[in-house]
Symmetry: C2
């Protein structure tokens, strides 16, 4: 129960999916479990890990338990990534230019989609 570091919490695809499912707003545990074709205990345990990592927050509401996203700890990952970001951007600069030109003729149509 001590704590879980954010990186380990993010290492599991189910947990990443749970966080994605919470972007739109709080959801009860059962609803989240239904989306993963996993047993409820398994999802419950994943949620507990996310809670220990400080990435979600429990709100008991009636006989449901709503989970809220708490994305602040993700900032640590973003910060860690930062020095590398410059690096990979530099290496991908040429490719970026090409892609920019292609999407330039397509306009800047942003679409939001989960992976």
């Amino acid at each position: 129960m001590p704590t879980v570091d954010v990186y380990s919490a993010l290492a599991n695809p189910v947990r990443r999916g749970l966080l994605e499912g919470l972007i739109d707003g709080p959801r009860p545990a059962g609803e989240l479990a239904g989306a993963f074709s996993l047993s409820r205990p398994a999802v419950s345990e994943h949620l507990a890990v996310l809670k220990r990592a400080g990435l979600v927050h429990e709100e008991p509401r009636g006989r449901h338990r709503y989970y809220h996203l708490r994305p602040e700890p993700l900032a640590e990952v973003g910060d860690w990534l930062h020095p590398f970001e410059h690096y990979w951007r530099a290496r991908m600069g040429a490719l970026r230019d090409v892609l920019d030109e292609i999407s330039d003729s397509d306009s800047d149509k942003a679409d939001s989609g989960a992976s």
Copy 2:
């Protein structure tokens, strides 16, 4: 042995440290191992994991093996983080204002330099 996803590769603090140690440039395995008070086989195995994740590249050179940073796969993590980034920035807006005001009275070196 197929491949390792970037998130799992990043879940271990030693592996993150290895990547950090490669930012300044390629280094031989032994030098990297010395910085971690870990046995050589352990570091070697961590490097193998990073290699399977596509995060480093081996360059045999004499009787050394230089490891090069290959940060492109980290872009996946950055992309995944993106939708959350907006979220946590919004939530930290108020705190940001307070901090800005504090550092404002501290000196005049507070300049918001975004990339």
